[in-house]
Symmetry: D2
């Protein structure tokens, strides 16, 4: 593989724009050579702003472009699996936003095609690349806190998405907790074997009417015997709450939220500070660049990608188990799902 | 009731000595008039040090003493229920260390005797009186964080007790988590309706051989729909880890550990501080005095005690349910226990 | 010297009551045998509450009492020097509240009498015994942060004292900063050689009209070349602000305020906590007991006291230099004072 | 002025590269149209990487280019004044790295030329744009902490520069503290009227042999009566220490260091975290982009620049006064300097 990777980006929505800017200007050894979007105007605007000369309305043009070595898929979730498959058949390496799909047959077909084609597939679990979570991982993986015993993941959104979105989201466990299931597997370095879910509708009854939940705790048991708990809420009025802590035999690690500044103000009533960063693009800015850098490196240097198709699949498997546990009010083994 | 309460203290072990000193010198409106211990020498030493003139080898002398209005029971756990019953029959108000007993029939008999006698019974769940937890309670009860949605209790010991103790302890849920079950009910202001336990032996295999567990997460569902998680470990190498956090509809509250000092030291390797307080008597010093103060006030002013026999009973009920959940590997309703 | 020290306490005002309770109940190897106050009723109330049998209206009775080995002087400042001298002549060991006096001739006479009599004198610079400051001292003295380079002392009162008090206080440098001058010498382990003062009346013009200042920064130069800064204000609306930080060649140490609890509350506006402890008796509770313990130990074991007459003198010397620097608008050498 | 500013960048050293990347890709309404460096290869490399088509060995080509509306000067300090003057004469708006010059006549001539030409000049005091310091400024300027009384600026480098640099640096006060003098004026919103300096050579004797100092505290008095203290050291082994705190009549604000992550690790010895960010380009990343954004906005919208030539001048004036105070061992009025 040449030292510079030619990348085609498909999908110029919110996250697509972020990846496009990083690929265009901020990541070494890569050239963003074509930008594609069904909404051609969106693709053009994005391309012009970044000095990219080729634009495609149809993503198939990207896949057929012999100059393109890899694609970055930022289209809506329900198209991911199909695009992965086609890209794999076309021999392109693939970075795809999470989740691969919301059902296992689709995921298996896409991952199978990747395997058959021998291309690389990295799934966009960006949080692994966040400096806080990466440091927690290091503390666990390096033995700094000994053997892992207990794991907590707090993951709360500043506010619920619109009900229209909730209805097509796949449910809280596949839409929101999926990041935490990946984080749990990532931090534990071990597979989840069983889940038990306690969940409720406490934030907005309309979420319940849409068949979903907005507040949950999911207990996880891991292969190695560790126990974990994921805490989710669709609404933390104080902002985006993203923390983990882990207890090991030799210590503990705890990561806290990120703030817009470090100022602490003391007045006659309180000692206080501004709220934590509220929006995932502010909170996780750095992680998006780091994950793409890692993808480019993996392709250019032909090393394993840090987040695989298997990782993408397992997060969905655990998510399906979590919902099943809630529905059947019992602990569910991961092996029941697939 | 006269403005000064005459108290007899029974049992001069570790916690008995703490209560004795508080009663002798630091709590208003109370007189420690007699100290009793089967080990008469221990009672005498304690009494002399505190300027208390009466000593009894047999606790029955205390119960028969007409000058005594109330007793403080600090004897071993397996004697609590019997002493409560006898003290109630003797018409004495009662402060008793937790737990009342490890089985429900004993508890019910003791609490029944108290009810029949019309005396007051306060159970020694001292953590409710800790300034940190009391502030968390205030944040929840006052509506400062809105309606409670999610609750976490982290409760880890610095190290496991001797195996000889583990064998007679009643198991981790009745010996250690019992404090957390009480804390959960206290903070939520609502009864637990169901528990699910994931637990393991990760600290010391000998604990498992003794039939007990050393690492656990217990999911709690409350009457009002809130969900809680208790995190227990018998061994946190960094010290006594005692924290809670709660998410409500209008905010969150989080309490952290207590430290021997506030010094932060930055050197060429780290920014660091000394470990948190390691021993429960250091960590909870203030709470022991505050709870006794509250007991004395409740008796002298004839107001309800802040921790009742019902509270003492329910913590045991939840503890029994937690173990049953582990044994049967399923969620257990509190109503299954009693 | 017998293993139990018989102490007479003189002066039952606010701080006298604190010392009396500690001496009566909480410090080993000491007996509070007599309490004295010109206001005999106050002495009696205090004695009764603590079970002390002897009371004296006239402090001379205490000094003449052959059973008394040591005296604790808690009378108004302007009587300290005279009482120290008389106690020394009477052969009693002496603990005296700070300052010894506000003028050097008085101090020198008192300290001279102590020296001549060969008794021990400890001055009540209690802050040295505060766990935070003691830990900072340890970090500096042990070499944990290398050689000291820079020192900051932040010392702010929650609010100014009444103007009537300001008028007789001796001025901010002898009344308030004196604690900080002692802290500076204590932490640096080196004498101050020069001071430069910038000060103003920013809190209350009435303080200026009374001839005093309410806001100040005092730069200190030490024998060993270190540089320090004391920051004083008579009014920090958020509470009692008592911090230090030190930079050394191998690191830094920073101590922060003490809080009534560790609860952090996040709501839709802020992440916040309750104000720091507001009153010096709450903030420094532990230090008062520790300093008295140290005094008793020094006498019983015949070891040097931890805060000497020289320490008491030097804090006043630096205070006088600080005011002179302000008055003459120039750096003032300590050797100019005495 | 057209909605897009054409900028020529002069000097492609460390900070020049940072500004170039921001101008090329990350700041709206600006086009980096030419890059100049005496080292033409450096200019070319930089231009190619950023897709800039014009390169100039001689900065005069930039000044003569009619397409260029503004210049960004990132050349060595001793060329700033001359370049500012020439750019002003050429009618270009100017962003210039600090300091303008190290002597007042040079500064006055440059600022005079700017004034005469009617162009805009912004000086690169980037720290004003750091989110922490900007929040402190807001707390002070908005009245959130009332009227300012006391100000502390802690500003310590991770390690001293090479002695070769020290010799040409202009001394600690013009090289390092100059940022803090600007910060002091910025935060106070008031001019410094007098300084008093205590300083020493404690880090490295070679710095003293080079005629400079490495450790200093500078007391500042402001027009409005506030008092401030700047704390400088050339060596904080734990990293780049950049903090301020301010006391006002209604509260206080305190900003702390920035860290690479929020992970706190507790082990059997300590509760600890990684060291603060160590390098000014990491610590102040965001501020460099924000200041350039502000410059572009000021030119495009024809509004006042946020950091003026007067600001650039005053920081040097205070720096000269600080050194004079040290040399003459007395407080020095700013009016003595100019």
């Amino acid at each position: 593989m040449s030292a510079t990777l030619n990348v085609g980006l498909i999908g110029t929505g919110r996250i697509g724009k972020v990846h496009a800017e990083h690929l265009a200007h901020r990541i070494p050894r890569v050239k963003l050579s074509v930008i594609s979007d069904m909404d051609e105007a969106s693709a053009k605007t994005c391309a012009e702003k970044l000095g990219v000369h080729k634009v495609a309305k149809d993503y198939k043009q990207v896949l057929q472009d012999p100059a393109v070595n890899a694609v970055v898929i930022c289209t809506p979730t329900d198209t991911h699996a199909q695009l992965i498959e086609e890209a794999a058949v076309a021999g392109k390496h693939i970075f795809c936003e999470k989740p691969i799909a919301q059902t296992l047959p689709k995921i298996d077909r896409a991952v199978g095609a990747v395997k058959k084609a021998g291309v690389k597939l990295q799934v966009g679990f960006n949080r692994r690349f966040d400096p806080n979570f990466a440091r927690a991982k290091q503390a666990i993986a390096s033995g700094e806190i000994g053997e892992l015993h207990l794991l907590h993941i707090i993951s709360r959104d500043p506010g619920p998405p619109p009900i229209s979105y909730v209805k097509v989201s796949g449910g809280i466990f596949l839409d929101m907790t999926i990041h935490d299931f990946d984080m749990a597997r990532f931090l534990a370095g071990s597979e989840v074997t069983e889940v038990y879910t306690a969940a409720a509708v406490l934030v907005d009854p309309a979420i319940g009417e849409a068949g979903d939940l907005d507040t949950a705790m999911v207990l996880l048991t891991f292969e190695n015997g560790e126990i974990g708990c994921i805490d989710n809420s669709r609404k933390a009025v104080y902002g985006y709450d993203q923390r983990v802590e882990a207890l090991g035999s030799a210590g503990a690690v705890q990561v806290s939220n990120n703030y817009p500044n470090s100022a602490v103000i003391s007045d006659a009533a309180n000692v206080k500070r501004d709220l934590p960063l509220n929006f995932f693009m502010d909170r996780y800015t750095e992680s998006f660049m780091t994950e793409m850098n890692a993808f480019v490196s993996a392709v250019v240097e032909n090393t394993p990608v840090p987040v695989t198709g298997h990782d993408g699949r397992m997060a969905v498997v655990v998510g399906l188990a979590a919902r099943k546990s809630y529905d059947e009010h019992r602990p569910v083994k991961i092996s029941e799902i697939g």
